[in-house]
Each structure stands twice: as structure tokens, then as C-alpha cells.
Subunit: 249 residues, 2 copies
DNA sequence: TTTAATAATGCAAAATAATGCATTTTTAAC
DNA sequence: GTTAAAAATGCATTATTTTGCATTATTAAA
């Protein structure tokens, strides 16, 4: 019996019975359980079924909901952004980049804060559109699909004409030598423009981003006014950053 | 019985009866209560149910989630927009307004369609950002909070520079005499600009919008090329519209 | 507070899975 | 056809997961 035949048999069986059991299949096909397991793993990796302990079940295609953004390590992020809330003042003009940390931040902005926020991130704009006292301006342009942010000249142009009091920048990577770096060129350019337009630059990120680097430089450490992490500001891992003159919150 | 099966059983039971009781499940499935408890805890941590003393209950819809847009009469809207899908072609430049009917439309655009879409609606942009073959351009500007669309001069300016093959306009109200009308002045202006920039104008709406009016005129009936409703194109209620030269889909 | 029910924890046995390796089968090139 | 490489298979070993039980802790209600 060919492997392909076996796979077909397994898939048929799976549809008939809603599930298959490794031991049963081994018996029915007169093969070792190892082989069956290898088959099931193979079919699983092709997403034709879902391997579970003892056998496999049908794939449940969960309707991909674009609007359901799940934030990894949300608790940690809440801890970070809560510290940054103290930087907010009524009347500020604020620029916010994308990223899930900033999204958590947007969620937690007190509802009585009166401010103007510019952003080029769809999820952040969605979130802020619920805020009663924030004037929200979305910076349009070509969408970078997966990150759900706009990029390109249109964005740079708008940013270059703004004068903001403070900007909140998500970080992909940061280290003492290169400063803030990004994986994507276009995003790095946009973030540069954000920094140019802001009196004060704040970057929030979790400590696992510390001492990592990506290909495209956004800015040197000295251009950041404040960094906010999950660590205690006195933590040793932040010492070098403190020394270089950045305020650590 | 596989663990995965059991979990499925528990979830089904939970939906049927609104709750499950540990002891009952142990009896029904012929397993120790410990195992059931472990199952319930596992499902709880996946947020599929809520473990309580003695069993589990359904998860309570958590606080209004911005990202959870619920579409009223979605089935009806699916019916409408499905008809409109036939108007799409590879290579088109498309403008889409906001509105839940257009959002449903965005969801159903075939994933192999290659097109460029301009929109100024956050939810629609979120939806389209998942589409693999669409170049998406968001038209930025000041956000109108509740509707989650941008409005104002910035939007008009961008629209005035586009030349689109087709635009899809949601409708608040339509009648034979005034044509398309809107409740908000700013939105009416934006829609006017959309129409100006498009070779072909399509409006999709449910039949209860027929023969109603709002304060701000968008355009006359004659400026619409196609209207798409839930009704049969031959329906008597659409007769006057057909007579006025609009193509009814 | 008391009491019975329910839950958490640690542990051991059993089932299932992963891994490395030897053997066989298949494939492809000469 | 021969032959070498690649793939598939089964086995032994080791690792992981699941499960039930005993024990202890917690909870809810009288």
C-alpha cells in the first residue's frame, strides 16, 4: 500500500468518524503505530487534520477574524504602559506608532484626557476612536498589510508638517551602540520622521528587546528622551542605557 | 475517547445547557472528576468557558470590544453584496466608502482578485488588510469617531486626485426625487468627491432605505450607475428607480 | 463555626509520542 | 541490469502526556 493511499484512507476515515485513533489505524492498516504517527504528523503539518494525543481530529477552521487582535504577554505590556501614562498631559499633541505595546497603551489612556493624537496604525486608530476626548487624525497612505500601518511618502509628508509635543514609538530592537533599529526599511523611515517632528521621544518595549538589533537604524540612543520597560528603572540591565543619558521609567 | 473529543463534548454540552457540572460529566464520560476538572481548567485557560465551583459556565461577553463590530442583519447584507461581486474585475481601481454593507462586501471579495482599493473607513481597511492581492490605500484625515471614517478637506483632496474605475457607496437614504442623501454634512461631501472621481458608481443598501431621505444631498439618482439591494431586480418597489435609468442588480 | 462538597497537589502507573538507528524498499542515474 | 542515494518502515529506548488516587486545602452554605 502506497503512502498516498494510506493518507487518503486516513482522511476518508477521519471524515466518516470525525476522528481517527492511532492504534486502530495501525491495526487496520497492519503497520506500526510509528508509521501511523508519522502519517498523522505529516497530514497535520499540511493542515489537513489536527494531531492530538492518541490520534487526530478534523481541523476546525476558526473564522479568521481580522478584528480580533490578540496581544501576546498583555499583562507585561500593561505593566509597561501604565508607567508611561504619567507622561500624558491635557492639550498635548501626540504621535503614536503601531505595535501591540502602543495598542495596549491606547486602551489605557484615561478617558478624561483631552489631547490630539496622530497615528498611522489601523488598530490604534480603531481603539482611540472610542475615546471621548481625543481628536484623532489618521495619517493615510499605502497600507503595509500584515502590520496594519500605512507607510511611504504620504506618511512622511504628513509627519514632516506636524509639530508634536511627544511621540510614542514601539521598538523592534534596541541596543546601546546602534540605538533603535527596525526590521523593515520603510517603517524605519517613518519612525525617523516621527522623531523629527516631536519635542520628546518615548519608546516603550519589553526587556527582551534589549540588546538586540535589526538591519535598519531608526535613531541613536541619544535621540530618545525616555524609555519604558517592564524592568525596574534601577535594574542592572538598564544601567548602560541610563548612563547614555536616556531617562528610564 | 480522545481528550480532544471530550473537550468538544463538553463545549457542546455547555452550549446546550448553559452550564456543565463536574460530577455529571465524570459520570457521563466515565472518568474521574479529577480529569474533568483538568479539562475544565484547560478550557478555561483557553477562555472557551469559565470554570466555577462545581463545574463551568459560558464565557460572559467581555466589555464592549472596539474591535468587535457586529453587523445587524448580516445575512441580508451578504445577499446584497454577493450580487455586487460580479462587478469586480482584476486590475480595477476601486473606492469604497464606509458602512456595514460595504464591510460585508470587503469580507467577501474573492482572495484572487487583484485590485487597488482606496478607502477612508477603518473597519474596511482592517478587513482588506487581510486580503493577499489587494493594494490598499487608506485616505487619512480627521477621524469621525463613531463612524470610524476619516472626513474633511484632507480626504476630499486625496479623492480629487484619484481616478477610479468604480466606487462602492453605502447609502443612508435614497429616493427617486432627491437621490442619495446623508445625515451628516461632512460625509455627504466626501461621497460627492468619491462620485466625481469614479467612472462607475455603485450603491448597495437594503430595501428599507428606499424612499427615505436625509438632510444632505449626495447626488441625484441619475449619477448612480448601479444600485444593489436585497430585492429582486424586477420587484415593483424598484420600478421607479429602473425607469430613471439606474441599472438595478 | 461547622460541615460536606469541591478543588488543588504530588505521585505513580499506563498510554502515547519522539528519537536514533538498522533494515528494507523505492527511486533515479548510469 | 547495477548501483548509490533517498525514502520509508519498524524497533528499542527515552521522554512526555494523561489519568486516577491519596492527601490536603479551599469553598459554600447551613
Amino acid at each position: 500500500m502506497l503512502k498516498a493511499e494510506r493518507h487518503k484512507y486516513i482522511m476518508t476515515k477521519l471524515i466518516e468518524e470525525q476522528k481517527v485513533v492511532t492504534t486502530d489505524l495501525a491495526l487496520a492498516l497492519d503497520l506500526s503505530e510509528d508509521t501511523i504517527r508519522r502519517d498523522l504528523n505529516e497530514l497535520d503539518s499540511k493542515k489537513l487534520l489536527e494531531k492530538v494525543y492518541g490520534g487526530a481530529i478534523q481541523v476546525i477552521e476558526k473564522a479568521v477574524d481580522v478584528f480580533n487582535i490578540d496581544i501576546s504577554a498583555e499583562d507585561e505590556k500593561i505593566k509597561i504602559v501604565t508607567k508611561a501614562l504619567s507622561l500624558l498631559r491635557d492639550g498635548q499633541v501626540i504621535i503614536m506608532s503601531g505595535g501591540s505595546t502602543n495598542l495596549v497603551f491606547a486602551k489605557l489612556i484615561p478617558s478624561d484626557l483631552k489631547a490630539t493624537i496622530y497615528t498611522y496604525s489601523l488598530p490604534i486608530a480603531m481603539q482611540l476612536s472610542q475615546h471621548p476626548n481625543i481628536d484623532l487624525i489618521f495619517i493615510g497612505g499605502k497600507m503595509q498589510k500584515n502590520a496594519m500601518v500605512t507607510i511611504g511618502m504620504d506618511v512622511i509628508q504628513v509627519l514632516s508638517k506636524i509639530k508634536a509635543d511627544i511621540c510614542f514609538i514601539g521598538a523592534s530592537s534596541i541596543n546601546v551602540k546602534q540605538g533603535l533599529t527596525e526590521i523593515g526599511y520603510e517603517v524605519s523611515i517613518v519612525k525617523k520622521a516621527m522623531i523629527e517632528s516631536s519635542d520628546r521621544v518615548v519608546s516603550m518595549f519589553s526587556s527582551d528587546k534589549l540588546n538586540t538589533k535589526m538591519p535598519h537604524v531608526v535613531c541613536e540612543l541619544s535621540q530618545l528622551d525616555t524609555i519604558v520597560t517592564d524592568l525596574d528603572p534601577e535594574d542592572l540591565r538598564l544601567e548602560e542605557y541610563r548612563k547614555s543619558g536616556v531617562f528610564v521609567l
